[in-house]
Amino acid sequence: MMTMKMLENKLQKTDRKQAVLYLFCNFVSLLLITAYSAMMFSPTVLLALPEGGDSRKQMIAIFVLALFGCVVFTVYASGLFFRKKAKQLGILMALGASRKRLAPGLFREVLTLSGASSLLGIAAGFPFVFLLWNGFSLFLVDSEQMTLKLDFKCLYLSAAFFVIVVAFSCLTACRYLKRTNIMDVVHEEHKNEPVKEPGRWCGAIGILLVLAGAVCGYSAPSVYMKLFSAYPSALINLFYAPVFAGLYMIMLHTVVHGWRSHQKHPYKNIISRSMMKFQGKQTVNNLLVSTVLIAGSAFALFYIPMLSVGQTMEIKARPFDYSYHYRMDQTVPKQEDITALAAKYDLSIKDYRSCSYLMLAMDGTIEIEDEGNTFHYEHADLVQEAKFLSESDFYRLTGKRISVNKGTYYAISNDEETGTYYLNTGASFLTNMTTRTTLPVSFAGFAHYSFLYDTVGYYILNDEDYKAISNGLTPDWQGTVAFFNISGKDSYAFAEDFFHTLVSSFGPECEFPNYYDRVAKIAANEAGKIYWGDTDVMTHISFDNPDTSDFRAYWTYMPKIRILDRNDFSRTFAVFLMMFLFISIICALAAMIISYTRCMTITLNNRYVFDDLKRLGASPSFLKKEVKSQAEIVFKIPSVIGMSAMYFLYSMIMFANDGKLVSGEIGGLAACLGILVLYAVIIYLVFRCSVRKMCLQLTIE
């Protein structure tokens, strides 16, 4: 004979569809979180994305968004499961089952479902990472650095999320069991969740809030630093909060009013509008989460074209195939050595030109950190090292004539004068670091030659000044810069050989990155302090790994080699590119699954509406149109808003960098637009699949 346990087992079988949806939601959430955290804690990624760097911060920020999305998603899934379960619970309660009688079975079911789905999700997260990453390696780009290493510390995050999922499921179960109004429990499934109808101003205010939040959030740190001479804490990011409030209001407006005027045709789409409105609360939440995830995904996706297009355009625009520079105390290949090396590859070099430069110290204002996160500015005589050319050498090297007055200097910038913040335009004297003689100077302006634009800047001095200040300067403070072209088609093998030959010719005294400043080090040591570059804070580079992204991006004597830079771009930045592609895929998957699940929920909740419409004689095409309009809001609104908001934000960031958009940025933004179109096509395909599935569920032919 039947027992309570057998009865519950039978009822669970009836709820299979709902349970599968719940399992699926938890499984996907845990899979995504585990995969993301596995990547985030992976030594492969951590090594490539330096601590405190923008890329690492972006990775963490998007993780927080994804985590938020997944938490909302699992909470939603659990709510959905219990809404369907409520009728069963209510009937059993009505027939005299006490809480104590129902609790064991209900908790057993909930714990099994949430626990099993979460554990499966965690377990599947690792193969998912492995497949995706190795898929990237196989089909897109492969490099030594891309060898995937995992740190199982990431399981702490998965475990925390697992606890959230299981605890929330149990709390929801408790909430249902504790309800005293049994009729409410029975009718829970058909309960509408209308939103409070806001005025039509809601959408416009929402857009304004999004814009205001983006501007406030972006400018708040610099305003704070100017006002308080202190570094802001992470809480400063709360200035972005209006963006989320604005997004919520836009979603609310979309669900309640829509964006078309209904004054002319008040009855047009009245059914779909009212259906949407009466499921409003959950729909608005879902739309918001999907929007945030799509925005996060677009942000991660933009990283790739923005980095590659600018780089590709810069490489293409170089006037020479090769450029290298070295200190005079180093024995590096000269013109004849390079010619001989090229001959081994049946190549000849042409247009070889070189000139010497001086490495002088510049004075300026520096930011001094105080205790308690504040700072102040101080003038210092020895601020930074810089490379100085004479005006005639600049002409010999570039063919550009520039007249520099005595006692002045020019800073060499790229043609568009972007990134000039690396250049010191406020120096009042230069110091010869060997003799400590000084030369009073003032800034005269920018000279343009993109090929000489460097993080450790190049400057131009008057020939007489150049001669005067160079007196007594030892070879370790002098250098040579050389350019040359390859006659005919260049060879990658030669370029690689040249690069490795060059690197191996440098001594260990040159084994440091471009942010290691010898002048700053001397100044710090003379003040009795340890230079920060000599501590563990600084990322070190090594001649043993000249092909790593760190070495190629930061070595202070890194040559510019067109064929190498072009061919190795994806390899050099492989981990960066793949990590951001990975993040983008994770966020996009989460957003699409949330939207798909919402569509299925709309189908389940509104089945009776569609049945009634059928009885009232609605044609299949009419019903299909109604289904489509429901799914359209779920897919279209987050896509349009998420993508356009992120595109706007990215453009704003690009513009705010230096007050203009340069050709590389415009090219990058154009490529981003193309990628968004592709992304939209993928979302459209998922939308079509969802509509087909909804029609199947509602038996609409």
């Binding site: 039947m2 027992t3 309570m4 039978k10 709820d15 069963q88 009937i91 027939l95 005299g96 006490s98």
Partner: protein, 252 residues
């Protein structure tokens, strides 16, 4: 057997309190078949839900079989719902995953393991209500009338003192309605149950011993059946008409 005294219940809507039951007094005797009628919004279903302890009420008292219900804890209330009350709902409230026989046995399963005696009782209820042939079928595979008769059989499996029925014929055609009413009569005669039924259907109500007319949360009138069923139905209709005319006179 059932005593309801000065029962008050109100709902909260938009921060306002809307009284639905305004001091109801009524009784139901053993084996009595009582109907409650009234216009929509008069509080019929709310009254039934309060008696069932499905929804909490603010004031008044309900006594069933000598036991005051208001101060009982959840477990005791559940026991009463399971053992002393039987329920029949307008939309049947059968469990989709169980077949007809299993649905009938649900209140027994809730009590504990189902004994052989309970199985025999379920079989006899199946035959009493003429649904033996569909005992292995699932709710989705049977007609509305058959579902409701299954629900009536389920309400009787624990031999309750009182069956509470909320619009049991509301979703049924006349033939099925008749079958359900006959089920109630059978239950009363053969199993000794009292029945308290909320209905809009004057035909169904005309089979009852007594009909309570409810209006705006108060008992408007009580009619006792002293004539034949069809004549009683006529009297009921007249009383309902009178109640509506009173509304018209007061301009409501």
């Amino acid at each position: 057997m059932l005593y309801v005294k000065n029962l008050h219940k109100s709902y909260q809507s938009g921060g306002k309190s809307c009284p639905v039951l305004k001091g109801i007094d009524l009784t139901v005797a053993n084996q009595e078949f009582v109907a409650v009628m009234g216009p929509s919004g008069s509080g019929k279903s709310t009254l039934l839900n309060c008696i069932s302890c499905y929804i909490p009420f603010e004031e008044g008292c309900i006594t069933l079989g000598g036991q005051e219900l208001k101060n009982l804890n959840e477990d005791a209330l559940a026991k009463i719902r399971n053992e002393k009350l039987g329920f029949v709902f307008q939309d049947f409230m059968l469990l989709d995953g169980l077949n007809v026989r299993e649905n009938i046995l649900v209140p027994r399963i809730i009590q504990g393991e189902v004994s052989e005696e309970a199985g025999k009782l379920a079989d006899s209820l199946l035959s009493l209500f003429g649904i033996e042939h569909i005992k292995d079928k699932y709710p989705a595979d049977i007609s509305g009338g058959e579902r409701q008769r299954t629900a009536v059989a389920r309400s009787l499996i624990n031999k309750p003192l009182l069956i509470l029925a909320d619009e049991p014929t509301g979703n049924l055609d006349s033939k099925s309605s008749r079958a359900v009413i006959e089920s109630f009569e059978n239950a009363r005669e053969q199993l000794g149950a009292a029945i308290f039924m909320v209905t809009h259907d004057s035909f169904a109500a005309s089979f009852c011993d007594r009909v309570i007319l409810l209006k705006d949360g108060c008992v408007y009138n009580t009619l006792k059946k002293e004539e034949k069923q069809s004549a009683f139905q006529d009297r009921l209709l007249t009383a309902i008409k009178e109640m509506s005319s009173a509304d018209a006179r007061t301009g409501r």
